[in-house]
Assembly symmetry: none
Homo-oligomer: 417 residues x 2
């Protein structure tokens, strides 16, 4: 790694984090923002509202990185220990900061609320520390030099922390002399080991480009990262690797970065000026929900039937009763009939259907938990696929919904209008 690359450590403070009652989203935000400035985060740490643990963590992280960003522990209550810990780590006392006192008095005056006794501690800073203004709340941030690091302490409330980071910390950071570029290429329907085998030479990470994979309910994402001094060249390296990944993984690739299967399918439908409806049994509305998560989906999504009870499959999707009696609701012929019924009755170009055993109960030897049939009716006929999915009820339903959207994506890719 380049000697001039700046590194950062992120320190999150709070009993609600350490006990798991809240999930820490601040650290991920900070790491992304730092990366945009070419500063590479190498370390996250979380400690509770415990003064000596915070002092230890400050001293340790300040020896590990050029920049330490601390969030949390700056509130007005007795369990907020960050300012005291920073003073102790610096070997100085807390002092009243006159400029921040004025700011705080104005903040309360403006809101017509009295400044409480508890808020007075928020005017105290370690001697020599620089106050960081907070437009969004009462907790003053602070910055100081400790060991080899510039330390910035921010409040834990996410919207206060984010505003203060952008307004007060970013302008004080020395931009790294290098930039970091991330890209994610998303695939559906592969095994992680197959993706790994196809990309093994790219994943040795011996060169300037790092390649890794992450998995989430059937989606394997290939994450590509490069760091370099020249922004254009670094972006070029990442683009080139992403192109190579796309080429090797072929039609399994459905998008990149913020793309979801529902968004990609929506774009395809818009381009072709076609419409979609849904017929859901085991997914119970999840496919409709995923499609309508997107603003503008009314341009191509007509609606759907959640046919949870068998007689609703008959009454609302025209599934023949004989088919249900002969094959059972979880069967390929019923998935076909559901998709065709939705396509016809909702008057859409395409329709997807799901019927399966989401579990954890309801499975049999012949039809185990995880067995799902995915139907797709379109201008050229109807297809059905049998999937045997592994995981919790939530995962089976999510994978089945994604499998239905992916089948539609591939069909539109193949059948050019």
């Amino acid at each position: 790694m380049d000697q001039r690359t700046q590194t950062a450590a992120i320190l999150a403070i709070g009993d609600e984090l350490i006990s798991g009652q809240c999930v820490d989203t601040n650290s991920a935000f900070l790491a992304r923002r730092l990366a945009e400035r070419g500063i590479r985060t190498t370390y996250h740490e979380t400690v509770g509202d415990d003064g000596s643990a915070i002092v230890d963590a400050l001293v340790r992280t300040a020896g590990l990185a050029d920049v330490v960003i601390v969030s949390g522990g700056l509130g007005p209550t007795a369990d907020d220990r960050t300012r005291h810990a920073l003073a102790k780590a610096l070997g100085v006392e807390l002092e009243l900061d006159a400029s921040y006192r004025e700011h705080l008095e104005a903040f309360f005056r403006q809101r017509g609320r009295p400044l409480s006794e508890a808020n007075r501690i928020q005017m105290m800073l370690p001697a020599g520390a620089i106050p960081l203004a907070n437009r969004m709340g009462t907790a003053c941030g602070m910055s100081a030099r400790l060991a080899r690091a510039d330390v910035f302490c921010l409040p834990g409330v996410p919207h206060e922390m984010r505003t203060m980071f952008d307004e007060q910390v970013l302008p004080r950071l020395t931009a790294g002399e290098s930039v970091i570029v991330h890209r994610a290429v998303h695939t559906f329907g592969c095994a992680e080991s197959d993706v790994g085998a196809a990309l093994s030479d790219l994943m040795t990470n011996s060169g300037p480009v790092q390649v890794g994979t992450t998995v989430s309910a059937g989606v394997i994402s290939v994450r590509i990262t490069a760091q370099g001094e020249a922004p254009e060249q670094t972006r070029g390296l990442v683009d080139q690797t992403a192109d190579e990944v796309r080429q090797r993984l072929g039609s399994a690739v459905f998008g990149q970065d913020e793309d979801t299967l529902a968004a990609v399918v929506g774009r395809q439908l818009l381009e072709r000026d076609q419409t979609l409806s849904t017929a859901e049994s085991c997914t119970g509305g999840l496919i409709g929900k995923m499609l309508t998560d997107l603003s503008g989906s009314s341009a191509y999504y007509r609606g759907g039937v959640i046919a949870y009870a068998n007689d609703v499959k008959v009454s609302h999707l025209a599934v023949p009763e004989e088919l249900l009696a002969e094959h059972g609701a979880v069967s390929a012929p019923v998935a076909v009939a559901m998709a065709e019924g939705a396509r016809q009755r909702m008057v859409s170009d395409w329709a997807v259907s799901t019927t399966g055993i989401a579990g954890p109960t309801g499975g049999t030897a012949a039809k185990p938990v995880g067995l799902v049939f995915v139907g797709l009716a379109g201008p050229n006929g109807t297809d059905v696929a049998e999937r045997r999915l592994v995981g919790s009820r939530e995962i089976v339903r999510l994978r089945a919904s994604r499998a239905a959207l992916n089948a539609l994506r591939l069909a539109m890719r193949d059948v050019r209008t």
Copy 2:
């Protein structure tokens, strides 16, 4: 803190976490589960896919706590470094584990997929480490004694990690001698400040019981925590406070702990042997999804119509065209007609409906983003409520869905059969 209280450190591994591309939810899950066993987490740390950083972190955390739980870095690809790092920290080599090899071969055979060369690394464990079986995927977990700690390495994929923790790690942990008891009492439809005012004397946290509130899309949860050596007594203190909270907040309280509005409504329907159908426009299937998240929901949920396009409201829910022309799709009369149409056509005792402007676009001065009508048709007639919801598209849809379920909950509470 009691000397006999066991402590834990949690170590999350992955470039996608350290760079902020993914938010770590595993560590919060683990801390909560450990607390249920009376084991107090004192430290979370995150490092990237960097072998020597993982070794350092393992050695450091194993000196800090009685239990170290590691998640991530056990996949089949070259960026998965946890097994190598654990071997190095232990000063041993990796060895083929014959029992795990059999498990992995069976896993692939069952799915009719070949075992790839890449998966072979997943059969390797540090010499002397104990394999932890993974029913949900290919990554074997492992456990070993390092310094003063029992170290457990789990995969990073959340559902695999959770299942393995519950099945393989929990039975191997020594329970702490003091217990931590958490309880959450959930309300819907109150303002947080009103809940705070009603409970202010309980929230001073001067006694052994801690009370706080958290907010999520209309649900205000009152969180009650106590720690003590005597399990019965500690649980009694928490129960007593929970009873007091329920009494003060009255019908706004819908459940506790793992309860969701959908689960509570489902129990009410089961008790009365009644059924429900849904007619969703702006929520696009989300209510159906929430109802069918629960195994067994087919006993009371008949299904629904996602009537996203206006003509689907007419064709599938018998909403009169004149009503749409006169009042527009987002109106009280249309919400009423949708609920009545669903109740009649799906032959259910109850039906809920939603129609609104989820945003971020599509709002007008007369019908702004966030305006939602929620209909409820039941044995005694139909009600409709107008809500003006604040937040992102996701939040508006979630709040509208919860408002519909809450209306049904209150109606079933009032109308005893």
